[in-house]
Point group: C2
Chain length 410, copies 2
């Protein structure tokens, strides 16, 4: 392969299908939120399993109330009360009513509920009804929420609170979900020291590993910081080898120098059957990105500049994590973007896709996207930004006042 | 207080300030993502602490390269190399250059870096330079990312990946954050059974507690399911009493019947000094909502219908959780909403704020919000929806084709 041909983002994303969803595991319902369903869920029974009242009032036959009004009440005979949580066994004959509370089971023969406020109990178990109800009024019918046998949640869905609630309603107490990808983060570079170490002149604190770990967690993975490896081949190979034993995805973070990149390539090639898929991407920032496959496992060599690394995490690593998670729900981009008016001209080089950090501000009813200027080595520019604007491959830039889509940060 | 006057949402939100942010705790940096900063962070030192190169190449005095071009190179003498991670001690005199890699420390006397690709090393330590560089070109200056003494992150900020990275760059290894609110969820109702129990006719599975727990987790709290309490005053009081010992916020979830609501009120009033702030809200669905204060702690009586309970969680409980977390970052609504065209007329009753469940669909370049119809007792309607549209207090409805803001689900 040609090491110097930059690949387009779309080409790189084409390699995602070379990797496969991880295995599954069963989790208790209370731990299922935000996990990805491994298999479609089919309703085993109707929800609800019986028709029930949605109001406090009286179970009736609707036709007994037809024509009732404030000056012309219907009279019914109260024959009893539906106990909450109990089966309603007493049948309802024409002209009869039973007291019922919200959630109570509709007795046999009843087909509607008249609300308490449109009734009055008289002596001798007589009920006055001042308003007519239609059949099924104030009733949830058996199977109206979910019908037995219907597919309710698709495989590959990231479970939201309401999905978890629906599973509880179905009596599902353990859920088959995709295992969370374990993501190794290996920092490289002789100049990199951990945040807790006293900083000597010439050294740099390992900020990237911490930012990347948080991105991994936000994207549904389990990050593990494997420490800092000096720029020596055997040390890097040993660290990758250790990671391959238990981890599902490896991120090498650190040096952007040619030396470090060469070392990364050499380390990958030392594994038999390893395949370097990408060495350089037409993206800015983020060009010096490496993607390889070692056995079944993906490995990214991320650029050393923090902004570049975070762009690549969002644009290239996230789709790989989604693949490992078996996520099939289209991440609807409309859920995480916002349209704004660009506050100034932005230049771009044709032949690469540019990601411009922007601050989003409400300005007299109009949303404005203000570019945050600064080198990609400055993590503070990401702290000042709310998201980024993507400039297509062959655009020469964007103009002030242009409407742009801002991809918001998590 | 008048138990039957419905309070407007804005009035209810006025009570939020009756509660106070929780205490703080220290967490290791690796666990700080998504937590809320308890105090402003001031940079103790410059980042970087020395000027460094952003390219592989040669450290130079910029003026030595002025006028250089492909046909007219500048000649410099290479006097050495900056070691990665080492202090650059060897000073650079006029006419001299030192090899330097990305991230390397700029030697004393140098003020720019010329990129490798615009140079060639000749014999005798001579360097040909084919392009001029400006002072500070390809250099990150000391303090350019963060200046010592500057305020970098405000108190009340929910930490994003880049904020965690910045803390690492500053050498912060433990972070003072707000304690996560512990949220008790108590299900009530004689008809409610846990999801794992076999369902008898007349009974209903406790779906709400699970959906609410996931919403609490999504909103930054720690949910704890305290089980199901039957409709008996002493049982409810005992459960609330136990929750008050260790929890920060109590959610009563369950029955919507008048009987259950009366019981909730009686249980609250049994605690000396308890104050019922809200009993009924001008919101649909969600009207039968109770907010009380017992000592310093908020308690919500949530409506029993699952959709109603989830609306109230979003609109009323989330602001209370944000208050307990001390969150001061304005949740920018632009981050979680999307503008769409309503696919059909929707009626609304003036005098209350309506929340309409909608599905969002891309339809030929236009986003459409399609109302999901169905009773608020049907949790499946939430599963089919992507978010909701809020209809203001005195509107009589929305018209087909109207542009609406959709508040997206988490």
């Amino acid at each position: 392969m040609d090491f110097f041909r930059l690949q387009k983002i779309s080409e790189v994303l084409g390699y995602v299908k070379k990797f496969h969803p991880l295995g599954t595991e069963s989790v208790p319902l209370a731990a299922a939120w935000n996990r990805v369903l491994a298999a479609e869920v089919i309703a085993a029974a109707d929800v609800p399993e019986f028709s029930r009242s949605t109001m406090d009032g009286y179970a009736v036959r609707a036709q007994d109330t037809f024509g009732a009004g404030p000056g012309n009440p219907a009279w019914l005979t109260i024959i009893g009360e539906v106990g909450m949580g109990e089966e309603a066994r007493l049948p309802l004959a024409p002209g009869q009513a039973q007291r019922i509370a919200t959630g109570g089971m509709l007795p046999p023969g009843a087909d509607a509920v008249v609300m308490l406020e449109y009734t009055q109990e008289l002596a001798d178990q007589t009920l006055e009804v001042y308003r007519s109800v239609a059949p099924l009024e104030n009733v949830v019918q058996q199977g109206e929420d979910v019908a037995a046998g219907s597919a309710v949640l698709p495989a590959g869905l990231r479970l939201r609170p309401q999905d978890v609630g629906l599973l509880a309603a179905l009596g599902v107490t353990s859920v088959q979900v995709r295992r969370q990808p374990r993501v190794a983060i290996i920092a490289t570079g002789d100049e990199i020291v951990p945040p807790e170490a006293p900083l000597q002149h010439g050294q740099m604190r390992d900020a990237n590993s911490y930012a990347l770990a948080a991105q991994v967690a936000a994207q549904g993975g389990e990050p593990l910081l494997l420490g800092i490896v000096p720029d020596r081949l055997e040390a890097l190979v040993a660290s990758v080898e250790r990671a391959l034993e238990t981890m599902d995805l490896i991120l090498l973070s650190g040096g952007s120098s040619v030396g470090t990149r060469d070392l990364t390539i050499a380390a990958i090639q030392s594994f038999p059957g390893a395949e370097i898929l990408v060495h350089g991407v037409a993206i800015s920032p983020g060009k010096p990105t490496i993607l390889a496959r070692i056995g079944a496992k993906p490995l990214f060599g991320l650029p050393g500049h923090p902004v570049s690394a975070m762009v690549v995490m969002e644009v290239l690593v996230r789709p790989v994590l989604r693949r490992l998670l078996g996520q099939t729900d289209s991440t609807p981009t409309w859920g995480r973007t916002v349209t704004a008016s660009l506050s100034r001209n932005v230049a771009s080089t044709p032949g690469r896709e540019d990601f411009i950090r922007v601050r989003v501000r409400q300005d007299g009813g109009i949303l404005r996207a203000e570019p945050v200027l600064g080198k990609s080595g400055l993590i503070s520019t990401m702290v000042k930004a709310d998201g980024w604007v993507r400039i297509p491959l062959n655009a020469e830039g964007l103009e002030q006042g242009e409407r742009v889509e801002v991809l918001l940060f998590d």
